[in-house]
Subunit: 421 residues, 2 copies
């Protein structure tokens, strides 16, 4: 359990900052602060826990846990949640959970044709989630204005005693360690200091963090979904573009600049189709949604039709053109996944994004071809699964980046507490 | 510096065992043992150090360092090495270094057509290194017998007071976390429990570890070569086959089974040439030495000609066929490196193996094409360099895996000491 908490702390920090943050919480010089953080992180990731579970999970004494919980309850960070539902021999153990309202993250997702906003409190409690269609390739000011209204609306609808603490933004584009958006081909945006723009537009007092949508989806799935407990895992987010994220040695694969796991732009077909990135033959040109729709002859769908559902329906109905297109797509999916299997040797691949819906139709081809094409295919165990959090993985991950900061900097909670007292 | 030592400890441990080893050396319960390990690791990686440098580097008191050094000297693990050559104000600071003879690793490299053996003592001191040609695709017993003779010869030629402690074997094939060789296409070997075979054949009392040659070359370059201090780096080892290794977040990329970074088998040319792995269009089919030689028309070289030198000479002489082949190879190198740049976002790529010799002839094409082909090419800084340790990187890495075990298990040194006293 201590491992899980440590992984949580280090997972979210880009490498340049990890050392400072890790050393700030090792507890070598400030053990009580470190123990408070461990207790909060444990409750945050595991939900309500009895005191006995905390004693066992955190390897602290019963009186030590009692004192820590006492302080957290006094400060309004934790709250009693009744007694253990499965009493073990001896006296009943009181259950405690974090007070979700004490710190609420507003998560924002900016994708092609859609903006989504959610509010998520301590412990991962989802208060609300709204998705709103946007015009294709809407410009930055238009999207920022939509976000401003949605965020203010989310805040208005929070319980009266809830405290919004920050906005975590996920965007379908390249975001470096400094939170700068370098390029978002599928949004039609170039270099944008999205964090500054949003900081100005949004209510003051809220921190703003910006990250890549697939990176944040990976964080969501690692903490609360299909990658939980997976030390070497991979997430593919397939939509019009194809993004990815990876966990390596129990830590997120950030790369030196925070730009790692841009898997959609692996070249798999030399001299192939032109890609939005300016290259040719990128993986996303053969497995992205537009390519599959073209190959399926489904380019002229009636307004309001979900193209993914049209593909799934076509496959279920035995449409030969759709089946052939999915078979072809499955082989290309296997080529890219096989390369990544050889490079990263993960035990689990989460196949998400809107293409995840097609996994049941692709799975047989993908698994057969990976066994054939990838050197490691026949040698290792690696399952391919759908994201447990579905399309909300990105928003959950964006909220975690905000809540992680709060949990690892408890003085923020204490300062807020004093100021509002 | 503490970070470097910690990185050394965790770099070498496959993930399954990392946790146990890390917790065994955190020093939470056994600080003196942890301090002894830190001191030895520091001296091992940095060479001779003055007491003042140790005080600063290890963040310990002067008297604490004095006591640790005293114990190490008493036990024959460290030795005095005069006084600081650059005296700072105040009294001169005595210099200490590890006693290289106190623990000597025998490193073995098994490649196509060659076996190499070296002896390396604490502090990375190279005593001897011998390379011996072998028949192409020699069988396991023949190679093991050659290794036995070479290892015994190395041990015979060590200084009389030197203590060989283990044999670290690097092999050009897939080696999993359990040290099993799963497949070595370029040696013509299938599944082989090389460790058991060598343990039986070699002098008793020596531990035997087995690893992949490119993984071990990466360890060598990370600890003592071009990847030193690089938290996100990549090594390519190009020969007949193409292997790789990566450092991610300051730790080696092992993958779940220890099989990660099999970069030579990324598919870059669908339906391309057949590869030794059974697949088609693998990266090594287009950038491996045989492919470049074929394209250069250099397939019928006189006996004793080094093909790499023939290619370099041809390029220097302006041979059009060779230049065209290298240009083509450079573009393929860029395709694969570009994919890996997009996936791993390293700051440095070490281009080694025998193909490293061709880097001066490939560099311009590779860098131009990576800027064009790789999404991250124009966005990040990543240099491409030759391995600092040259073709010895693998042997150095193999020795480090043995010495690392000795340094992190100092009781082995103490037990040996008691037994021999």
């Amino acid at each position: 359990m201590a491992i899980e908490v440590q992984a949580y702390r280090t997972l979210l920090a880009p490498p340049a900052r990890a050392t400072e943050r890790e050393s700030a919480v090792t507890g070598a010089t400030i053990p009580r602060r470190a123990n408070l953080i461990s207790t909060m992180a444990h409750l945050h990731l595991r939900g309500a826990q009895s005191r006995s579970e905390l004693v066992a999970g955190l390897n602290l004494s019963r009186s030590g846990i009692g004192s820590l919980i006492g302080e957290l309850i006094d400060r309004g960070i934790a709250e009693d949640a009744g007694v253990d539902r499965q009493p073990s021999p001896g006296r009943p153990s009181l259950v405690v959970r974090l007070n979700a309202r004490r710190a609420v993250a507003i998560a924002v997702e900016i994708g092609p044709g859609e903006v989504a906003v959610a509010s998520v409190g301590l412990g991962g409690v989802l208060f609300d989630l709204v998705r709103q269609p946007m015009p294709d390739r809407a410009a930055v000011p238009e999207v920022v204005e939509a976000i401003r209204l949605l965020v203010e609306d989310q805040i208005d609808r929070l319980p009266p005693d809830a405290t919004p603490v920050g906005v975590g933004v996920a965007v379908a584009g390249l975001v470096n360690n400094d939170g700068l958006l370098l390029h978002a081909p599928n949004l039609g945006w170039g270099h944008t200091d999205l964090r500054s723009v949003l900081r100005t537009a949004l209510p003051s007092g809220l921190t703003v963090t910006v990250g890549n949508e697939s990176t944040l989806a990976t964080i969501g799935e690692y903490l609360r979904g299909s990658l939980r407990g997976v030390d070497n895992g991979l997430l593919i987010s397939g939509n019009a573009g194809v993004g990815g994220g990876a966990v390596v040695n129990g830590r997120l694969l950030w790369g030196a600049n925070g730009l790692a796991a841009e898997v959609g732009h692996m070249k798999v077909q030399p001299g192939g189709a032109a890609c939005g990135c300016g290259g040719k033959g990128c993986w996303e040109t053969v497995i992205g949604l537009p390519a599959i729709l073209r190959a399926s002859g489904l380019t002229d769908l009636p307004d309001g039709t979900d193209p993914i559902e049209a593909l799934a329906d076509g496959a279920a109905a035995g449409n030969a053109e759709v089946l052939a297109a999915l078979d072809d797509a499955g082989r290309w999916v296997a080529t890219g996944l096989g390369n990544l299997l050889n490079v990263l040797n993960p035990t689990r691949i989460v196949f998400g994004g809107r293409l995840g819906r097609l996994l049941p139709h692709l799975r047989t081809t993908v698994e057969e071809e990976m066994g054939r094409q990838a050197l490691l295919g026949p040698l290792v165990e690696c399952d391919i699964v759908e994201p447990h959090l579905g399309k909300d993985a990105t928003l959950i991950g964006a909220s975690e980046q905000v809540l992680w900061h709060v949990l690892t900097h408890p003085e923020d909670l204490l300062v807020d507490d004093a100021a509002s007292a």
